[in-house]
Symmetry: D2
Subunit: 347 residues, 4 copies
């Protein structure tokens, strides 16, 4: 079996992570890296990695029939056009989250991939974290019986740059979207309704962007379970990523990873180091696994582990949360498109 030739579009932080992980896979050849802002620095980096082509435009990649797989890591507004183009070109697609900030466009993209018969995997990397996988195994295996309450805490160590906040799509679409996916993943059920309350407690720049920096969203699931997600853009003690599922036979909870187990006891108290700092440290293994599984799904004709529909459902929940906060009332996922239209919110 020959190597799968892949191209990575968008060579920012996350694009480079995927390149790095692909380079370690003997079954993959990274044929090209495309970036609209490609310059000498990227050329040099690609050369050091042994990647033959660095392009500003992705058209050549799309036109190259030898390239089987495309990793879309460019800015969110480019995702849907690239998916449509890649689907038409018959290429398998790995796309970072969110697919788009407009649920209808995401639907289009998902449909296009489906019709073209190409694989489309969405970058919900946290599903591949050792802790969340183990938690889900317990839920699915029946250890805790029927789920009653799902609790997700997700806090970043520090806010993104103000330039990014403006184009981020807001806390629900940019940050909590991961948690909406996690909620579906660990509960094994669809989210039916959300109620969102957000606040600006960290930095007024969020208010200036019409965004929140702190939010709590409650969930109702199709299976009757209830849920709650809390997000903060700034946990000074580091990346805080915890999930608990409580059910009829017990609960399973996962907490943070730490750089070491050292416990210090002094006259002042008992100490330990802070958790792993941020997503690069915490989800290092998860990034490798999601990429490996995408490649495996191509090689072995298996379904991708995170489908376009998964991407779509998380976006619907994010949109519902945005609407809920705006309207000050709970919002059903089934009414989001209509409400979004009424209130001229991107859907």
């Amino acid at each position: 079996m020959g190597k799968i030739k892949a191209a990575v579009i968008g060579a920012g932080r996350i694009g480079k992570i995927h390149v790095g992980n692909l380079l370690r896979m003997p079954e993959v050849e990274v044929a090209a890296v495309c970036d609209a802002f490609a310059g000498p620095e990227l050329q040099e980096w690609a050369a050091a990695c042994g990647i033959p082509a660095v392009l500003r435009d992705s058209d050549a990649v799309m036109a190259d029939p030898s390239i089987e797989a495309i990793f879309i890591c460019s800015s969110t507004n480019t995702h849907v056009p690239l998916i449509l183009q890649a689907a038409r070109a018959g290429k398998h697609i790995f796309c970072e989250k969110p697919v788009s900030m407009d649920v209808r466009k995401t639907e289009e993209a998902v449909e296009a991939a489906r019709e073209a018969g190409v694989k489309l995997q969405i970058g919900f990397n946290r599903r591949f974290d050792h802790n969340f996988k183990r938690l889900r195994e317990h839920v699915q295996g029946g250890t805790i019986g029927l789920p009653h309450i799902v609790k997700i805490t997700s806090r970043d160590p520090s806010p993104p740059h103000p330039d990014y906040i403006k184009v981020s799509g807001g806390i629900y679409m940019d940050m909590m979207i991961h948690d909406f996916d996690m909620a579906r993943y660990v509960s094994g059920s669809e989210i039916e309704e959300v109620y969102a309350q957000g606040g600006v407690l960290i930095d007024p720049v969020f208010a200036e962007c019409g965004d929140s920096d702190t939010a709590i969203v409650t969930l109702k699931f199709a299976n009757g379970a209830l849920g709650v997600i809390d997000n903060s853009r700034q946990a000074v003690y580091g990346y805080d990523q915890r999930v608990e599922v409580f059910g009829s036979k017990g609960s399973v909870a996962v907490t943070n990873d730490y750089p070491n187990t050292a416990e210090i006891s002094t006259a002042d108290g008992i100490y330990r180091d802070k958790p792993l700092h941020f997503f690069l440290e915490r989800y290092n293994g998860a990034y490798i696994e999601e990429t490996q599984l995408f490649i495996d799904s191509i090689l072995h004709g298996k379904p991708v582990p995170v489908s376009g529909t998964d991407g779509l459902q998380a976006e619907r929940a994010a949109l519902a949360a945005k609407l809920s906060q705006r309207l000050g009332r709970p919002v059903k996922l089934s009414e989001t498109l209509e409400l979004a239209a009424q209130h001229s919110i991107l859907a």
Copy 2:
């Protein structure tokens, strides 16, 4: 200084706990126990405790000028009349929670005690738990900066008897009322708005009583912080009582107490015993301390640590939660009385 003569009205489980704790205090004399259902068994128990009088009717106690302090531990519907009577008689009052299920009547009772110049303490025992006290010290001392998110988990090991469910006032007034008080206690701020979602996931009997057995309530505080409380009537692993306050400089979290620290490692995994089973085990020390502080407030002319207003505010939040679930929308505490009237809900 002579001993304070006290009478305990209502000799159920909680009444007996207070009697037991009062008997250990050298500065108190338990002069009488009143219980509408007093029989030979109670007579015997009182005799063994060295309590001189067992009465079915509390009037004699109210009429006895030597009795300075009354502990009201009878059923909730008797609380307000007893408070009014005791206040008129100039007796200091310790009243179990909730004062009543009608916020207006509670207001009356609180006002009566205020006018009579007698002390009125409400039985929010959890404020005196070693964990929650330490958490609050950190919040008040500024360890975590300004509070942003308050999270409270409160789950019972098993549901109450169906007979009790019917008259309990529902999960918000009977169970979550403790957590509403805890939210105010640890945040140092008033609750302004709640959004409640409840479900019946444990036992259909709750639905038959028009009640929920599982609930998640989100909170908005006057200081801008957000909060969430989750309740379940059945955590099979035992009493689950945890609080976390997250703020601008960090977080403080308290978790359950365990009967021992033993950790077992075997070929099957690592395990430990379940948390302390229920409130009698977990809050043993807290019950002693709340009673001691009530007695101290009488002896030393100090304010009580949990005032009638504290009782009232928690009831308002519980009523708002009940309304929120009924109406399917967030409810401000300031609108509860009006809404309750409109919807013929007890207020």
Copy 3:
């Protein structure tokens, strides 16, 4: 059944703890407190407790046939004469550890109690700690299979006063004696041999007294298991009391108790309060239970939970450790008396 009349001899810290615990037992009457240094302060304290008699001399107590039980809490050198006297007088005896610093005299005392048919319980309070009891249950119940390794850590928060160090009997007889008893208690086997190494790392005053402040002793048990105890007179983070038993099917470990479960997360790290400070805090419940069981053994004709032989065996191990350190070689418990005689060490 009438109350058991008890007298407490020695009204120092530990004597007062026993008095306090006895006063809470309805089946006991504390008839007298004896202390060679009794003054107005003790008189006042006893009066407040409702104890009718305060004596300097214990002879009256011994001569009073109505007194059934004697608690010996005076200095170690008085223990054996008081046991002999109480045994002759037919009184049940609770004696603090060690019975004496001379194993032969302890043998005499144990024998005297046996012949007189009175109960003799030794104050190894740690056996009644919730953690160590649970650990032992697991070992005895077979959870960890056959014990292979026993590890005991026992460190005090700060050294005793130099005046006490001089008369303490040294680290092995004064401090590690508790751990020798614990080793027997948790392993269910006799100690056959010890090897002791001690050092003076905290305060030169220990060297001046011919004592060590830090020690590690390895153990061989009759059942083939190996063990190790480490002691320090100064753990700045507080009382450190841990035990681990490792066996063919796993291990069970108990660690310290904490005043609360609060965990603080800040930009500097994760921290919590220090463990419970010292024995009064940590073993509060254990003191109550050992006294209750002693009283129960009298009331119900049951064996005491810690026998004179238990006291004797721990002293033998302590003597062997002292000899081992002096001689720089492992010492069998069976050779201690002979060696002690050869080397003029108190036995």
Copy 4:
């Protein structure tokens, strides 16, 4: 700067780990793998890895002047001859532990490398574990003041094959040698004396080989600190690797790593998965780092992080422990050679 050409001698489990790690380093070229038992399987494996040469005899490698670095991963009896040969050939040497089972031969090898001016690093991989590194930082940084007590627990999940036990050199030279090195590493002090007690509690095959399967060794350090190491060949709950250093200002302790943080709460208790199974899982990162640092030391002319002397000192301690158990008395490291000669024990 060109790539460093390296050859790996001995292609067993540990040899293949080093090859795997070297292959990921862009600054290294694995030129050859030598194994006395090389067959078609190894040829195939090497081909898949892109290693050009597979040899049965290492002479060609030693004779090839382009090869700068040798990794010695063959059986222990071959280490010294290979070091001598490599040193003569001017090659840098990474050698697995122990260098040999004869301290005098190890001295020779260390001296040969020194004279030849080649680097010699010993494979004490645990020094590069994230936990132990952090612990040592705290000790060296003064967090815990002067070290008083060092405690090391090191237990394998299951015993090696009987064929291996026979040639292993025994529990002290094969297994505890890692812990002797750890004791030196974390304390920053030399071991001066040991007292060893070992037993056969797991499998009689150890007795048949004149070996122990369970051992406790106490240590005296040059700086006055005391220490203890406990080893077991079979911890059914998995690899148990813990270290604690206690000192004048507190203690620092590291415990095991776990595959996830999931905590399960059920009606039966609280559970979690066992620790990482064995050294491949636990020390994966440490193996990478030790190899990287060896390569760095060659590239940048820096000292190796684990010297030949480090290897020698750990062997001396292991020999002393073996002698101590045999003689039933504490043994100073300074007397080992003489004692070994007297008692015809390999030194």
